[in-house]
């Protein structure tokens, strides 16, 4: 079944992404999940929308 190796690769990529994401976030002052629910979490994105 050719699908099984493909599923394994996709799964490993997803797992790898999550591990790298958490490691990067844990090194920051505020570990977060890139949530949109609080201003404090979106501060790093606010510059994109500050059009002067």
């Amino acid at each position: 079944m050719w699908e099984i190796p493909l599923i394994i690769v996709i799964g490993l990529v997803a797992l790898g992404y999550l591990i790298i994401f958490f490691i990067r976030q844990s090194k920051k002052k505020s570990i977060c999940m890139d949530c949109p629910y609080a201003d404090e979490c979106k501060k790093h994105d606010s510059d994109r929308f500050n059009k002067s």
């Binding site: 997803a14 992404y17 890139d34 629910y37 501060k43 002067s52």
Partner: protein, 670 residues
């Protein structure tokens, strides 16, 4: 020069001013003396009969961080007019010693000298930091980053103070930085100008007006707590509105009604675009089903990715409407009133004003709420606030509520969601009282609730904030939630059952086909029986999988709550991110779904659970500990022991409450 109790006190009389902006020579002279000469104590003589005007200078001195004494002069006039100042409370709120005086009669001089000695000997000053509102604070942070980047720090000044002065376009500070740092100033100037432009476009006033308003808001908040006036006076528009909105009796019911209306708005309006999105994802599923051959890849695409991620993205319209409503409430100035009203409740449960700030942040996300608890200097206040913060239902739980409320209570979904938030607040209040009486006994510190002036929100400001958040929600769905959904699909699919079914389903299907061919059963009967057998097979495949085994193993613990193993697995997946509960349920019921039509998740939920179980699941989601990222932050802020306590007690509370609701509910609801 004064000699007092062995101390020689050198008193410098500075020009009489109402503020220390750099508009006049007197103001510049006073400010420069304070900054350059670094006096051991600064005494601000305040006319007590006009506190609101005279405390403005005090707020600016507070910003400078100088050791401050406020000499409240003419207190005899205040007393004669029937007004009353709670000096102790006001002193705590302002972070400065206050001495009552009647200068004309020499009253209070000794107390003032005692205070001077006490303050001069104090090594560390408690600094009260004024907040200028979300937009201005964001720009202050930007300017501070650039100042640090450019190493443009002038050592006599606090960097935050410099940033505020730059936003106010203080000529003296600008000239000082230009002279000291030459070409570096152009980068700073560029940032400051863009900040000023942004603030002016969003709030319709330049930063110096907003900052001045914030200072007056701070003073108003402090005086509302500590200054009692009798008799009628001419009120401005904000004060007239505040008489109703912050009224001791009406304040909380009005707040509750406004929040209820917000949920009605979010759900009633949002269900239409959410329905279109749901239909869109269903069509996409059918398309992929027709194009991709049957097999694991198709299942991953349809049952995993499209159902799982689509299940979360479907709620984007509701989330947008929620952010829109919150932006209006915040930008208009009402949220500060709500905070003030709730502050009274906080006092009653042994938590004071500062606790409300992280709790309000917790309605957005628990991670910054835990970080925000740092503003509480008292450790017990901080820990209690953090421990009850999880009951301030975070934004990530909202898709779960919308799904279940929409599935089981379509006609009253807004009311049901409101009840969940309300229950969360009640439980937070109860737990705060219990924690304060047991594990974390002690007094709380008072705090000023700032009351900024009311404003008409700008459409531009609201649309920018709403769009930013909507984009981040979709981005999170397409990244973190997508990755987790793929992993959940793998856990629900492997190991594969192969031929290890408990029954001979193939044989059963053959029998049904034969009965249909021979005309013994009709077409609808044939379809129904085949569907039932295939559903049973799908159920066994799911139960055989890794996630299924884990769910079945834990199911006995949750059975008394009315939950089956699928709900258990969904709850566990919520530890990664609460929205994943929705994508897990979507994936589960999509894998389980049979036939060519794709049944909606709401229909599937209705078939498998009762409304009581649905509501109970929402309660459990509300009460158990927040996501993994929040727990990591909790550990960073409070230590492993407190984190484990939080996990343990919230799980236990969630279980007990859900158990009681289900067992008692079953008696009355069949």
């Amino acid at each position: 020069m004064v000699d007092y109790k062995g101390y020689r006190i050198n008193i410098v009389d500075l020009p009489g001013i109402y503020s220390i902006t750099a508009y006049s020579l007197e103001e510049i002279v006073t400010r420069n003396f304070i900054i350059n000469e670094k006096p051991d104590v600064v005494i601000d003589v305040v006319d007590s009969s006009n506190l609101e005007r005279n405390l403005y200078l005090a707020t600016q001195l507070m910003e400078l961080g100088v050791p401050l004494i406020l000499a409240f002069n003419m207190t005899d006039i205040v007393k004669k007019s029937g007004k009353k100042i709670d000096i102790v409370l006001l002193s705590e709120l302002l972070g400065a010693s206050i001495v009552e005086m009647v200068g004309s009669k020499g009253l209070g001089s000794k107390e003032l000298l005692e205070s001077v000695i006490r303050v001069a000997k104090r090594k560390k000053e408690k600094k009260v930091e004024l907040q200028y509102g979300r937009e201005v604070e964001n720009e202050i942070s930007r300017i501070i980053s650039v100042l640090k980047e450019q190493k443009a720090l002038i050592f006599n000044f606090d960097v935050r103070w410099i940033a505020v002065k730059l936003l106010e376009q203080d000529r003296e500070i600008i000239d000082t930085i230009k002279k000291a740092f030459g070409p570096k100033y152009s980068k700073i100037d560029e940032t400051v100008m863009s900040s000023i432009k942004h603030i002016t476009s969003i709030l319709r006033d330049p930063p110096e007006v907003i900052i001045a308003d914030s200072r007056y808001g701070f003073i108003k908040g402090a005086l509302l707590e500590a200054y009692k006036e009798t008799g009628s006076e001419r009120l401005d528009r904000s004060e007239k509105i505040d008489r109703i909105l912050t009224n001791r009796i009406l304040g909380i019911p009005i707040f509750a009604i406004i929040i209820w209306l917000m949920f009605q708005f979010v759900f009633s309006l949002g269900k239409y675009p959410a329905g279109w999105l749901e239909l869109g994802f269903e069509k996409l599923s059918i398309l992929v089903t027709n194009v991709v051959p049957q097999g694991l890849l198709r299942s991953l695409l349809v049952d995993g990715i499209i159902s799982g991620v689509g299940g979360v993205i479907t709620f984007t319209p509701n989330i947008i409407l929620l952010f829109f409503a919150i932006a209006i409430l915040e930008d208009s100035g009402y949220m500060a009133r709500a905070a003030f009203v709730m502050d009274r409740v906080m006092h009653k449960i042994g938590l004071h004003g500062k606790s409300f700030i992280p709790l309000v942040i917790g309605f957005g996300c628990t991670v910054p709420a835990y970080m925000g608890s740092r503003i509480l200097e008292n450790k017990k206040d901080r820990l209690v606030t953090m421990h009850i913060n999880t009951f301030m239902s975070c934004g990530a739980r909202l898709p779960v509520y919308i799904l279940f409320a929409g599935a089981f209570f379509p006609a009253a979904a807004g009311n049901v969601i409101f009840s969940i938030y309300f229950i969360g607040i009640i439980i937070a209040v109860i737990m705060a009282k219990i924690l304060r009486a047991t594990r974390f006994k002690g007094e709380s510190d008072p705090f000023v609730m700032e009351l900024p002036a009311y404003r008409i929100p700008t459409i531009k400001g609201i649309m920018i904030h709403t769009w930013e958040r909507a984009w981040m929600y979709v981005k999170k769905a397409g990244t973190i939630i997508l990755a987790i959904t793929i992993l959940m699909w793998i856990l629900f699919t492997f190991p594969m059952i192969g031929s290890n079914y408990s029954k001979d389903y193939t044989g059963q299907i053959e029998e049904i086909e034969q009965s249909y061919k021979s005309g013994e059963i009709t077409d609808p009967e044939h379809h129904r029986e085949i569907t039932a057998v295939e559903a049973e097979m799908a159920g066994e495949r799911l139960a055989y999988s890794a996630a299924g085994r884990m769910g079945r193993f834990l199911e006995p613990v949750f059975k008394p709550l009315g939950f089956d193993w699928k709900m258990v697995v969904a709850t566990i997946s919520g530890v990664a991110a609460k929205e994943v509960i929705v994508s897990t349920m979507s994936t589960l019921y999509s894998i389980q779904g049979t036939g060519e039509e794709s049944d909606s998740l709401k229909v599937a939920l209705n078939e498998h659970y009762t409304p009581l179980v649905g509501y109970n699941f929402m309660l459990f989601t509300l009460l158990y500990f927040p996501c993994m990222a929040a727990m990591v932050m909790f550990r960073k802020e409070a230590g492993t022991k407190e984190m484990l306590f939080q996990i343990g007690y919230t799980l236990l509370l969630a279980w007990v409450v859900s158990f009681l609701v289900f067992q008692i509910g079953r008696i009355f609801i069949k």
